[in-house]
């Protein structure tokens, strides 16, 4: 808990040796500097680059919305989906985005519970990214259905037909899992925002801003009672979020794992999907944090190379888990002796979609191995370039699992290829516009770094700060 935590690694017998940990905040930045700098990002005049970026991303967002409108007005056929590939880019994109949405809550909740202090400078942005990724993800399952106007059939509302949902269907579990995850993530994120919103409110000069931030800050005064309630609420939400991080992608993987289709029907999917999601999520956090810090240079004192280094290590770890899962799948397909299973993996590797499989293997398994080298983990440009591979690779992974599996399953007479249409491509590209637009709005109007938590990891926050060491 901020302010009361002791340094990890301080053991009773180590009194003689001073443990030197790299500082989490560089350049001896003070509490005041942190508040004023982070708030200034929100308070200053809107920079030109922001307008330029919005000029790109807003039209992309509109393109996405236009594509969706066209889809609803015309039919799912405007995408390339067909028989046998009933799911293609739609569900690929869904799993891709929902996977990205894992890093934020993981950083916020699991690293919070495990007292990883370095999380404090990245958790806010990562959580925001989670929410925006889940928003992008939600578009696809909602719009991929043939009759979106009937999609409320998925909700367990009593109706005159007396028909309930099919609780055996993993797709229904998915609806519940994703909506729960989104709700809890929003609450978690917003709860963490409250003290900082109050800070901004207090610094506001215009009345309108003061009112708006004041409403959003929910009357936060920073009193002791409020902090106590806050700490308890945050801990509870962290506890709630932690299993959700694991459950959402496990449930998403059940969409495939509980089916009978060779290549889908496998028990390895839940852990493999979760590892992949963390892998892809961290890559996306780095993808957006590195440019954000480049734009606001002083942020490098808060989001340090040390942070980047740690995240790269996580990417290396989870990427290797994913690589292990790929190899294990191949091994089990061979060892299991089921000819359909063998064929499915054979076709993945050397079938008509071999290039997607090769791209997945290279991007997810080979490329991150560069992170064994400290140079690549600490050189920000290299990091940014390398994490694009997991970003792409995780999309290819989902494409390989979904589209290529369906294109060749049990009955060769029904085999067929999937080709994306311009609507597929524009919708997917448009979700990046939406994601970036939301993120730009976020950094413009909300403190993108959790001020009070960063302050808590400053040396000055230590109650024993300044005391002579023995």
């Amino acid at each position: 808990m901020p302010g009361t935590a002791t340094m990890i690694g301080e053991k009773p017998g180590d009194e003689e040796k001073e443990v030197v940990r790299p500082p989490l905040v560089l350049n001896k930045r003070t509490m005041g500097w942190i508040s004023s700098y982070i708030s200034s990002i929100v308070e200053e005049r809107t920079p030109t680059w922001w307008w330029v970026s919005m000029g790109v991303t807003v039209p992309m967002t509109l393109m996405c919305l236009a594509c969706l409108a066209y889809l609803v007005a015309t039919g799912v056929g405007v995408w390339g989906n067909n028989h046998p590939v009933g799911w293609a880019w739609d569900i690929t994109n869904f799993v891709f985005w929902i996977g990205i949405g894992h890093a934020g809550t993981l950083i916020s909740a699991i690293l919070f519970l495990t007292r990883q202090k370095w999380r404090t400078s990245i958790n806010r942005a990562a959580e925001a990214m989670t929410l925006f990724a889940v928003v992008c993800a939600g578009i696809f399952p909602a719009f991929h259905v043939g009759r979106i106007w009937m999609v409320w059939f998925l909700a367990p509302v009593p109706n005159s037909n007396g028909i309930w949902q099919n609780f055996r269907s993993p797709l229904l579990w998915d609806v519940f899992a994703v909506s729960t995850y989104f709700t809890v993530s929003v609450l978690f994120w917003y709860t963490g925002l409250i003290p900082d919103l109050a800070t901004i409110r207090d610094r506001c000069t215009s009345k309108i801003k003061k009112f708006v931030y004041g409403v959003m800050a929910l009357g936060w005064r920073g009193g002791n009672r409020q902090w106590r309630h806050y700490e308890a609420a945050y801990l509870i939400l962290a506890g709630l979020s932690t299993p959700l991080v694991l459950s959402v992608h496990s449930v998403v993987s059940f969409d495939f794992a509980t089916s009978v289709i060779p290549g889908w029907h496998t028990t390895i999917f839940p852990p493999y999907f979760v590892a992949g999601a963390i892998f892809g999520g961290f890559a996306m956090v780095l993808t957006i944090m590195i440019p954000a810090c480049a734009l606001y240079k002083p942020l490098h004192d808060l989001v340090t190379v040390n942070h980047v280094d740690k995240m790269c290590k996580i990417i290396l770890l989870t990427g290797s888990i994913v690589g292990y899962a790929y190899l294990m799948e191949l091994f089990i397909a061979w060892y299991g002796g089921n000819p359909y299973e063998r064929a499915a993996f054979w076709y993945r590797a050397v079938g008509p979609y071999w290039w997607a499989y090769a791209a997945m293997m290279f991007c997810n398994v080979v490329a991150p191995q560069l992170f064994w080298f400290k140079y690549f983990r600490t050189h920000l440009l290299w990091v940014w370039i390398i994490v694009q591979f997991p970003n792409m690779g995780m999309w290819f992974e989902r494409f390989v699992i979904i589209a290529t599996t369906l294109s060749r399953d049990f009955t060769p007479s029904a085999w067929g290829m999937f080709h994306p249409t311009w609507v597929d491509i524009c919708t997917f590209a448009g979700t990046f516009g939406l994601f970036t637009t939301l993120f730009l709005i976020f950094i413009r109007f909300l403190p993108m770094i959790c001020m009070f938590e960063v302050k808590a990891v400053l040396p000055e926050a230590d109650p024993h700060h300044g005391e002579a060491r023995h």
Partner: protein, 1067 residues
């Protein structure tokens, strides 16, 4: 405005009262009366708001609210009942009438189902002697032709719309002219009424030229039979008596070649379990894969040009053994040719035929040159088959001139008025006649046709033809049975029939269709030996009722082969061998082009190539290599995958080739066809229409320009060059190989006798551990449990079931671009696999529809419970509940579920992508074709085979009626058939109650040949396949490879190859 119902003022002494309280009319009662009606109702009375005020206020508010919303009114619609009850009609019930579809070989006897006076479905007439109740795809699709909105709808004179009266006046003037220069060009029809009217026309107008033309006619067969056996002789093969059959370029199992009836006789003898007679054995010699070739026990690829030499050598082998003098004398007349054949094949085949004298049968196709036909007759004669497996009848059809004779007369200017009934000679006449160029030289050309096609454009008059379901007629089926054609509906667009025109030409005052046909019938009955007991009216009505006149077949005649008369024919050399040949095929989609506007048929895949919406030049893999024709023009990624050991055959992009005979050339896409003869090409006729209807544009390639009258079957001495241009093609099935999976299971007769249950333990099925389920399934409680068996031994893959399902279940058409995107909507499909070497493969057909799994993978994954199981074992689709996640289709191992990606029923096929801008709604006439008992599905909804639930429910409801007050369980459901089963000409589909051990389906399911697919998934399908059994002749070359599509038997299960390695399974 609700008014409080004030009680009427009362008399002091009421005459009638309903209660004592009313009599008293006390205040409490008045209050009670008030309380009956909604609170506040009385306020309207006392509010001071007059009706006028109210209307003003309401009007103003409506006007305000309605600004800009005035278009949001629901359109007014009326449901108008019949003002008079229609005789026999019970709302919601079909009425059935017997009729027939005329074909070039006779007629397909039919039963038409009609609803509210419109026919919606055609079934085979099971009572007819030349039918087993089956139909072909063309008959099934005839309904769509009837309602086709592209049909010609008006009389035109020199391109201007006119009316029937003007045409009548014209006919009168022709009649008054004495018939000078009058000629007729008609399609071949065995219609006694037309023959009768023709005789009258010829009597009234001497010098009339009556020509008949069929692009796919059987004039060669007729000529040969006439020479060999006497004029008018027709041979009727009796497949049920034949143990060994040799088909030489004959696709006799294809119902479209000879009409229905052959497949039934053949399939009856194809049963390995039959008592008293051996299973038949089929040898086929052909240049391209046909349905018959797919069923063959031994198949030899042979160029059509070399067929004469093959037959000569076979005849020589027969002659050597039998010493038959007739065959020897014919052989003496036959020219020889230098062609290489596998002599062992010929010898072993001849020996097998000779070992079965009188029980064998040699057949050849109707267009095989007469020279070859007489050799075949000689072989049959030497084998003693005449009179046993081949019966002779005499057809009384009068002789007619050919189109060549007509063209000569036209060129000489002798023809002034030409009546063209049906056909399309401007498009399909033999190329050397230049018929289209001759037509403008004839002053008055009258064209009677369903469509304003190429010929109509060159004619003075176009007369809209009545469809056979709109007009009276008659026909003799192939065996001669007199069959009536009665209309089901008045002509939709005022069309008339050729009988009407002939009768008007003869000056009959307002002749009606029924009178014309009945007059023929009377003459037949009074002139013939048919008993008229009960009076002619009763007999006529009975004939109309059953659709045919019993025992009215052609007169049988003994067959005596006359070598002397046949020898001159045999001397005529066939087409010159050598060089590249092209064989002209009957299209499975458009026949000779007559169904070119039928979208059901265009979208029904070809039996063998699985092509839709196109035809193509077929070429063997070796010849394709030699000529530089690529199997597919796809990208680099696919090429690499192929190098990695995959068979990649998706998204066919074919090379366009140019084929020329020196004078004329055609351009067409070429595809590589496994099992095709080398140095030979094949192309289906009837495609490549230009400027007729929007639907026909850019559909296929016209092959008629290479076809001559002298050699209708084949053109030789051609050259081919690859143009370098490519053409995308739409196939419903792209992959050819079973990939070592035991989907279609087959074995030889020996293997079956050794282990009758061999098919149940093939491949993976031999390794399945006992199933222990953690989950108890809900019991299926209904007394009836529906299931189906598919006999792969008799299923030829003829598509009749596919089109029948489309007609019955309102399955939409999606168009070529959508088929290319794998979005075809067919609920039943025929999977076709090739096994073995690409040059000499086996072809296997497997009818595939929803398997109605008891433990269905689709049902568990639907999030909204839109697909569920019924108590009688059906896998149901609740369309209204479906939101279209497509999860069920993904999880279906058979991939039989179909998703409506666009509003295929509502949007024109060329406007699918236009969204709300597309024209909405289908043509009114097409709405009439829909089965009223089946939902027309909208977009975004999954659909699939329902086992024709509408027929099941109909039968169950009928049982309730039948059972009356007795418990329904005591009343059996009267037998009924599902649509695919009813259409199947070879009886391979059997549907019924699997809970009843006595039912046919139960007995077939219990057969040793019965197996279910993907057994290890434990889905428990309700569709059981019966393994295909081959009957190879062990002495034939390559006999060891017959029936080995699943590998040779070893160690208790069926594979020597490693089925686990798909790379190895590729051939």
């Amino acid at each position: 405005m609700k008014k409080i119902p004030a009680h009427p003022p009362r008399d002091v002494r009421p005459g009638l009262w309903r209660s004592l309280r009313e009599l008293g009319n006390d205040p409490e009662f008045a209050r009670h009366l008030e309380a009956e009606f909604p609170r506040g109702a009385e306020l309207y009375e006392e509010s001071g708001l007059s009706k006028r005020d109210f209307l003003k206020l309401m009007g103003a508010s409506m006007a305000l609210a309605g600004v800009g919303l005035t278009g949001c009114r629901r359109p007014e619609a009326h449901l108008v009942p019949f003002t008079k009850g229609v005789e026999w009609t019970i709302p919601g019930k079909f009425l059935y009438y017997a009729t027939a579809m005329p074909t070039r070989t006779g007629a397909v006897p039919l039963i038409a189902s009609t609803t509210d006076g419109r026919p919606t479905k055609l079934e085979g007439n099971p009572l007819h002697p030349f039918s087993n109740g089956g139909t072909d795809g063309f008959a099934q699709a005839a309904i769509l032709d009837l309602y086709d909105p592209h049909r010609a709808k008006s009389f035109t004179d020199k391109g201007k719309t006119t009316d029937a009266a003007a045409f009548d006046a014209f006919l009168q003037s022709v009649g008054q002219g004495g018939g000078k220069g009058v000629a007729f060009l008609v399609e071949k029809k065995n219609s006694p009424t037309r023959d009768r009217l023709r005789a009258e026309v010829e009597r009234n107008f001497p010098g009339v030229l009556w020509a008949e033309y069929e692009p796919l006619g059987d004039s060669e067969a007729e000529a040969a039979a006439a020479a060999a056996f006497g004029p008018g002789t027709r041979l009727l093969p009796k497949f049920d008596r034949a143990d060994v059959i040799l088909a030489l370029d004959s696709d006799f199992l294809n119902p479209i070649e000879t009409g229905i009836g052959y497949a039934a006789g053949f399939s009856a003898r194809r049963n390995p379990d039959q008592m008293g007679a051996p299973m038949n054995r089929l040898y086929v010699v052909e240049n391209h894969f046909t349905l018959t070739g797919g069923m063959a026990d031994h198949r030899l690829r042979c160029r059509v040009s070399d067929l004469g030499e093959f037959t000569r050598r076979l005849a020589a082998a027969v002659a050597r053994r039998t010493g038959d003098p007739e065959i020897a004398s014919i052989l003496g007349a036959c020219p020889k040719a230098e062609v290489h054949f596998d002599e062992a094949w010929i010898t072993a085949c001849a020996n097998d035929l000779l070992a079965n004298p009188g029980r064998s049968l040699v057949l050849t196709g109707p267009q095989t040159p007469a020279a070859v036909q007489v050799l075949v007759h000689a072989i049959n004669s030497a084998l003693g088959n005449l009179g046993s497996t081949l019966l002779g009848v005499v057809t009384p059809a009068p002789a007619a001139a050919t189109i060549t004779d007509l063209a000569k007369a036209m060129a000489s200017g002798a023809v002034e008025t030409l009546f063209i009934f049906g056909g399309n000679p401007a498009y399909n006449a033999p190329a050397e006649l230049g018929f289209a160029a001759l037509l403008p030289g004839v002053p008055d050309v009258v064209r009677l046709g369903l469509f304003e096609d190429e010929t109509s454009k060159l004619a003075r008059w176009h007369v809209p033809a009545a469809h056979f379901l709109e007009s009276w007629g008659d026909a003799r089926t192939y065996d001669g049975t007199y069959t009536t054609i009665q209309p089901m509906i008045l002509p939709l667009w005022g069309g008339i029939s050729e009988l009407d025109i002939l009768a008007k030409l003869l000056g009959s005052a307002a002749p009606g269709g029924p009178e014309l046909v009945r007059a023929t019938f009377e003459s037949l009955v009074t002139g013939g030996a048919v008993s008229t007991a009960g009076g002619p009216d009763l007999l006529w009505n009975n004939v109309l009722r059953v659709g045919f006149l019993p025992a009215s077949g052609f007169a049988p005649t003994p067959l005596n082969f006359s070598a002397a008369a046949a020898a001159p024919l045999a001397e005529k050399a066939g087409p010159a061998p050598g060089g590249l040949e092209i064989v002209f095929l009957q299209s499975s989609s458009v026949d000779d082009g007559r169904h070119a506007n039928n979208s059901w048929l265009l979208e029904t895949p070809d039996f063998v190539t699985k092509l839709t919406w196109d035809n193509a030049v077929l070429v063997s893999p070796a010849t394709a290599d030699a000529l530089g024709i690529r199997a597919n023009n796809f990208g680099k990624f696919e090429e690499i995958a192929q190098k990695l050991g995959n068979e990649i055959d998706y998204d066919l992009v074919a090379d366009i080739v140019e084929i020329t005979d020196g004078k004329r050339a055609i351009q067409a896409a070429a595809i590589v066809a496994p099992g095709h003869a080398d140095d030979s090409l094949s192309i289906a006729l009837g495609f490549g229409h230009k400027g007729v209807t929007a639907l026909m544009e850019d559909v296929g390639f016209d092959a008629y320009p290479l076809r001559t009258a002298a050699s209708p079957r084949v053109a030789s001495g051609l050259s081919l060059k690859v143009t370098g241009r490519t053409y995308p093609m739409a196939q419903t099935q792209e992959h050819r190989s079973m990939e070592g999976r035991d989907l279609v299971r087959e074995g030889t007769l020996d293997r079956y006798h050794g282990n009758p249950a061999f098919a149940q333990k093939m491949g993976m099925d031999a390794h399945i551990p006992p199933n222990i389920s953690l989950y108890t399934h809900p019991a299926l409680t209904s007394a009836e449990q529906w299931g189906m068996t598919v006999d792969l031994n008799t299923c030829t893959g003829c598509n009749a079931c596919v089109v029948a399902c489309q007609a019955e279940n309102n399955v939409p058409v999606v168009g070529k671009a959508q088929v290319r995107k794998n979005r075809d909507m067919a609920w039943i499909r025929i999977d076709r696999y090739f096994a073995g070497e690409p040059d000499e493969p086996e072809m296997l057909a497997q009818t595939m529809m929803c398997q109605h799994c008891e433990n269905a993978p689709c049902e568990t994954v639907c999030p909204v419970n839109a697909t569920v199981h019924s108590e009688d074992g059906l896998n149901l689709m609740a369309y209204n509940r479906c939101i279209g996640t497509r999860y069920c289709a993904n999880n279906c191992p058979w991939k039989v579920r179909r998703f409506n990606y666009f509003d295929y029923n509502q949007r024109p096929l060329d406007q699918l992508y236009w969204g709300p801008l597309a024209r909405k709604g289908m043509a009114d006439s097409l709405k009439m074709a829909k089965n009223p008992n089946v939902t027309v599905r909208m977009r975004g909804v999954m659909e699939k085979c329902t086992f024709c639930i509408q027929r099941i429910e109909d039968a169950k409801i009928s049982r309730l009626v039948e059972a009356g007050p007795t418990p329904k369980s005591e009343t059996p459901i009267s037998p009924f058939k599902v649509a695919c089963q009813q259409a199947c000409p070879s009886d391979s589909l059997v549907f019924g109650d699997v809970a009843d051990p006595k039912s046919r389906v139960s007995q077939l399911r219990a057969s040793g040949r019965g197996y279910t697919m993907f057994k290890y998934l434990n889905a428990s399908p309700r569709v059981t396949y019966l393994a295909r059994i081959k009957n190879p002749n062990p002495k034939m070359p390559g006999a060891d490879k017959v029936g080995m599509a699943n590998g040779t038997p070893h160690g208790g299960h069926g594979a020597t190859h490693d089925p686990h390695n798909p790379a190895e399974a590729h051939q």
